[in-house]
């Protein structure tokens, strides 16, 4: 895999920001889009735009084929058994909320437990807090070890026969940790709980096999994996989805509508009320084609190399504190840090003046920030278009930041 050649396929990366070539290190927030994805969305609006599933006319058939074709691409991408198990949503947040609103509310009651971890994104915390409040269930947290990883002994100690839902992220958006989902799912199943996986930071970077993981639900977003914003996926095991009620009611999701009663379409459409995100799905399909042509194994290996290199280079900066595991083993391309007494916002502003885009703040993970005893942190996140040169520039930028603030002080 040649990251420099891949970079050429991303038009946005070919620009100067504040007089410097753009160094984009914020793919954890959203990835950039290759020309193939931009063109697929444009082609759809240019030639094929029409509503789906009403296919009497030609454009309707093209739009439907494009939309359902994207569903099949997603199925293959995560190795699901059937397209009935692939529901298009607005993104990871909507996907998790759907599980909470439909499955959890119907199946949980007082005395039951929901288990999540300290490293979850707000979108894998708040839906469960709400479910707990409404059903009387208890929300429990898996503790983290010193280096930010989850120990299976803690998983075994936390999950009980009262646990009905376990929901954990595949990759932490702050620590970069890759969690042992397959093992956690096994423990969850031993106690009769369902396993929900937040794959927002996982799907863009790792090969996912939902059958091998044996997860019950898995959620991810298109925009973090080279696709458009506004499209996401909820995978669910068929026998669970079949017994769940829809969350949104209206057009597209019905079988028969009477005056006082209605029936729903079969899977997956009963969960897709309203005109779906057609262009988004087609764009996501193009993104999957793009990623698979390069190969997820290649992408993972590239990011692993970048993470190892970043850990090494950033450690050279005086006053650097890196959070999460100290080595690149089981780490995705995310490195979160703080630089002595320079606040992360100030770090981000100084780097921006050098054309380097990083994220600063709580990363939608306030409970984790509390665990780290930080009010905010800086985060560099990498993707297939980043190079070691980008990390060199980041390192130089951080050294300059340090110098700049020591001058001002």
């Amino acid at each position: 895999m040649n990251a420099k050649e891949i970079r050429e396929l991303f038009p946005i990366l070919n620009q100067e920001v504040n007089g410097h070539p753009l160094v984009y290190l914020d793919s954890g927030a959203t990835s950039q889009k290759p020309i193939q994805v931009i063109e697929a969305v444009q082609k759809y609006y240019h030639n094929d735009n029409s509503n789906v599933h009403r296919g009497v006319h030609t454009l309707g058939t093209r739009a439907t084929d494009g939309y359902e074709g994207a569903r099949e691409k997603v199925r293959k991408f995560i190795r699901a058994k059937s397209t009935e198990e692939i529901i298009f949503t607005r993104g990871t947040t909507t996907s998790i909320n759907k599980v909470a609103a439909s499955y959890a509310r119907a199946n949980l009651s007082e005395g039951d437990e929901i288990v999540i971890s300290y490293m979850e994104h707000h979108s894998n915390i708040i839906p469960w807090q709400q479910v707990a409040k409404e059903t009387g269930a208890t929300l429990k947290y898996l503790p983290l070890q010193e280096d930010g990883t989850i120990a299976l002994s803690d998983v075994s100690a936390t999950i009980t026969d009262q646990t009905k839902i376990v929901s954990v992220t595949l990759v932490s958006n702050v620590l970069g940790v890759i969690n042992p989902i397959k093992d956690i799912a096994k423990i969850a199943h031993q106690h009769g709980a369902v396993m929900v996986v937040d794959a927002a930071q996982g799907a863009p970077h790792l090969k996912i096999d939902v059958q091998d993981l044996d997860c019950d639900f898995l959620a991810f977003s298109g925009h973090k994996m080279c696709g458009p914003t506004g499209i996401g996926v909820l995978y669910g095991k068929k026998q669970l989805l079949e017994n769940m009620e829809p969350v949104e009611f209206g057009g597209e999701m019905i079988d028969f509508v009477g005056l006082y009663e209605s029936t729903w379409k079969e899977l997956p459409w009963k969960f897709e009320g309203g005109t779906p995100i057609i262009a988004g799905a087609i764009g996501l399909g193009a993104a999957i084609d793009f990623l698979e042509e390069i190969g997820l194994d290649q992408i993972e290996a590239h990011e692993h190399k970048l993470a190892a290199y970043a850990l090494e280079r950033l450690s050279e900066v005086e006053g650097m504190k890196i959070f999460g595991p100290k080595t690149a083993a089981n780490r995705a391309g995310i490195v979160t840090f703080n630089l002595d007494d320079v606040h992360p916002h100030d770090v981000a502003t100084v780097l921006d003046a050098e054309g380097i885009a990083i994220r600063a703040g709580h990363h939608c993970a306030q409970p984790l920030m509390k665990w780290l005893k930080q009010s905010a942190t800086a985060r560099a996140s990498f993707y297939l278009y980043n190079t070691e040169e980008d990390i060199d520039k980041l390192t130089t930028g951080l050294i300059k930041t340090k110098e700049y603030f020591s001058d001002v002080f």
Binding site: H343, H345, D346, D352, M369, A376, F409
Partner: protein, 147 residues
């Protein structure tokens, strides 16, 4: 933009307030307390105000945040002491105009606050600078409705 432009943001007086914050702490007794967060970035301020005869007799702040938010809080508490509520709120409006790059009333001596003018050129940082001022305005409004 280069590091030279950064100097318009990180002026000496700002860094001085950041390093040596004025009025840091919490006022006891029956002072007015306002808590405010910037939910997008995690900055947090607790402002305590003591009002006597319609004037700000004392003001203190506690909080966590970047150099811009904390120095702005320091300058704000310094500026409003001794001012009437109306004057303090007016000052906040002037500050807001300054952040938005609008023409603002320059008859009033803004003192150290003037140094924050450069923030207006960094749109992503304006919310950092206005946090303490928004907290102060909220406190003044609450005081009004409490009456």
């Amino acid at each position: 933009m280069s590091f030279n432009n950064l100097d318009t943001l990180y002026r000496q007086v700002i860094m001085d307030h950041y390093k040596n914050p004025r009025n840091k702490g919490v006022l006891e007794d029956d002072s007015l307390t306002v808590n405010m967060n910037n939910p997008t970035c995690g900055d947090r301020i607790q402002l305590t105000l003591k009002l006597e005869d319609g004037k700000v007799a004392d003001a203190k702040f506690e909080g966590e945040g970047c150099s811009i938010s904390m120095s702005s809080a320091s300058m704000m508490t310094q500026a409003i002491k001794g001012k009437t509520k109306e004057e303090a709120v007016k000052l906040s409006h002037i500050f807001s105009d300054m952040m938005l790059g609008k023409d603002y009333d320059d008859d009033i001596d803004l003192g150290d606050i003037e140094a924050l003018q450069g923030v207006s050129q960094f749109p992503a940082r304006i919310k950092c600078a206005t946090l303490a001022w928004k907290a102060m305005e909220k406190g003044m409004n609450e005081e009004d409705t409490a009456k």
